[in-house]
């Protein structure tokens, strides 16, 4: 019984990791209606920038803020340079660019920062593990950060004019343009914000799984599952989905399918959701007038 409780707790902790990445995926989907496969690698790259800044002597939160800003600029620049020329291209072309970006970022990260595993500092480190060691202060802190980011994203999209304009630009670029929204600016902003969220996720994850250029490879897949489970257009849904996938994965791996099929379980979740509830558990059904 204690074991079950511990599995759930540890699943929530892992789920927090998935949730933070899922949130970045939702961000880019909300603002561009694309799912960026390079999201994970961009976040890893940002995390290395943070490590470099910390090693250069910046205090943790200084490096944190600087990294978020650098990542924002990086995301916006990628949109302007790479994605803008693709504005009218078919979806498949964008997917090609995303996969290309994934490979480019992965290789550049390894080339600049080396592939050796590195530990990444946490701002929440305390000597005493909480709840008998099944939750570390960092894991608790990271979860709080994820939830705070979620609230911020929610408020931004729901209650600011800019958020509304961004959603409109993604939903219907032509009409948005007609009512005076600068669609290009909105898309660049969306990319920038998604990259910034990714950077936050990366910095929260790295102390747990250690930093290496492939840190996000496995995580992104689970994050996709989480985002789809909760609804890719719903920040809160994606976060709940991320946590759920973490717990499902742990319980499934420990008691049902065995550890060999944990990853398959995540893939099965994706397929099952797409078949039975294409918009996710909390997603809205999209109706488009033709």
């Amino acid at each position: 019984m204690i074991g079950l409780l511990h599995q759930i707790l540890s699943g929530l902790v892992t789920g927090g990791i998935y949730a933070s990445v899922a949130l970045a995926l939702v961000m880019i989907y909300q603002s561009t209606h694309h799912v960026n496969f390079a999201q994970g690698e961009m976040a890893t790259f940002s995390t290395y920038i943070a490590l470099a800044l910390i090693e250069a002597g910046l205090p943790y939160w200084g490096a944190f803020l600087a990294t978020v800003m650098i990542s924002f600029v990086m995301g916006a620049v990628i949109q302007i340079v790479l994605m803008r020329p693709m504005a009218n291209a078919p979806v498949l072309s964008s997917v090609g660019v995303f996969i290309g970006l994934l490979l480019v970022f992965n290789s550049i990260t390894g080339w600049i920062f080396s592939y050796t595993i590195k530990s990444f500092p946490s701002p929440f480190e305390a000597s005493r593990p909480l709840l008998g060691g099944f939750l570390s202060p960092h894991e608790l802190g990271a979860t709080v950060v994820t939830l705070a980011v979620l609230v911020a994203v929610y408020l931004f999209f729901r209650h600011t004019k800019l958020g509304l304009a961004m959603r409109a630009a993604a939903f219907n670029p032509v009409s948005s343009r007609l009512v005076g929204i600068r669609v290009g600016h909105m898309l660049a902003l969306g990319w920038g914000l998604a990259a910034a969220l990714g950077a936050v996720a990366g910095m929260m994850i790295a102390p747990v799984v250690f930093l290496d250029p492939n840190m996000m490879a496995g995580i992104l897949l689970y994050a996709f599952a989480g985002a789809l489970l909760g609804g890719i257009d719903n920040p809160a849904g994606a976060v709940i989905g991320g946590f759920a996938v973490g717990v499902i994965e742990n319980l499934g791996g420990a008691y049902v399918v065995g550890t060999e099929l944990k990853l398959s379980l995540a893939l099965f979740t994706i397929v099952a959701v797409l078949v039975f509830r294409p918009n996710g558990l909390f997603g809205r059904v999209l109706v488009t007038r033709v």
Binding site: T14, Y115, F210, K262
Partner: protein
Amino acid sequence: MNARSRRRPVVLMAAALLFAGPSGVAVAEDMPGVTATSIKIGQTEAYSGNASAYGAIGRTLTALFKSVNEAGGVNGRKIDFISVDDGYIPPRTVEQTRRLVEEEGVSFMFNALGTPTNTAVQKYLNMKKVPQLFVATGADKWGDYQRYPWTIGYQPSYRTEAQVYAKYILKTAKAPKIAILFQNDDFGKDYVLGIKDVLGSQYDTLVVKAVSYESTDPTIDSQIVTLQSSGADTLVIAAIPKMAAQAIRKVYDIGWHPLEFVSDVSVSVGAVIKPAGVEKAVGLITGLYGKDATDPAWANDPGMNEWRAFMKANMPDADLTDANYVYGYGVGLTLLQVLKQCGNDLSRANIMKQATNLKDLEIPTLLPGIKVNTSPTNYHPIRQLQLARWNGKTWERFGEVISGAGS
């Protein structure tokens, strides 16, 4: 078949040898990748991917052969070492190995990294009769000289290592409850087999839980929780550095204090112990065959001084606590001995013959008493280990050098 017809090919071969003589053309045909001034050697290495911590080995070898070349090479030949990245992904290993053999025309493959990766090219290399020398993996199967005469391992096999751990466990505890965390491939499963070898029919009662992980899993926290709930008091971690570091930290964080063993592939202080936390790894036991750079016992050791001088001259920026640099240097020296023994006959057959004829070779970075020995029926060059315990600062060796079965 009568005796005469069987002898004929031999006579023909002898005649061919007589007529071919030492002419340049024949040499080039018999010795692929070899010229009068150089020998081409190939390696696939995980410079990227989940096992990328081992990339340090490839970098060390590149630096070592460069310094050997600057000193004139081996028997007057320079080593043209082509080390390429396969990302620890078997299909890429196949692609890169074929490129090295067929396009670059390397003489042989040396110290390619990884169990799944080497497995993917073993049949191909043996079919082509290209030596697959001293592979950087401890899977037991590299010693299978009957099926794969062109493949030879290097370090003690994982199975041997696990046998040594199991023997120690049985010696120290009356009724141990053993838990095993293993990577779900040949590498991890060798540990399970090695423990089975020693426990025999007791395996099912003494091993209370064995769980696997995939090398793509983001975390292994869940597995550690499962193992702890099994009530085990002994834990064997058969994992690559990233997962081993996570496991060591998690075991400590949840307040579990088992008798803890970690696979010899994850003993690097720089790549495993430091990320996990030096104080969290205290008490951890492993089997060593090489000298650890952080062990004060080797502060003035001539062998390690030789390595330090090499590192200072050729890789001044490297983290000297990373055991992979010591490993790379040692296996590189082993190959140099093979090349020296080959003399001017660098045919693939002779390279294989010399690689399987190493007698009590002493490598400066191996522990005292541990020697490299091979023979045509022994493809396990290193078969001895000494147990060591992490004391918060270094690996402290204890007990005798233990010889494994080497199967």
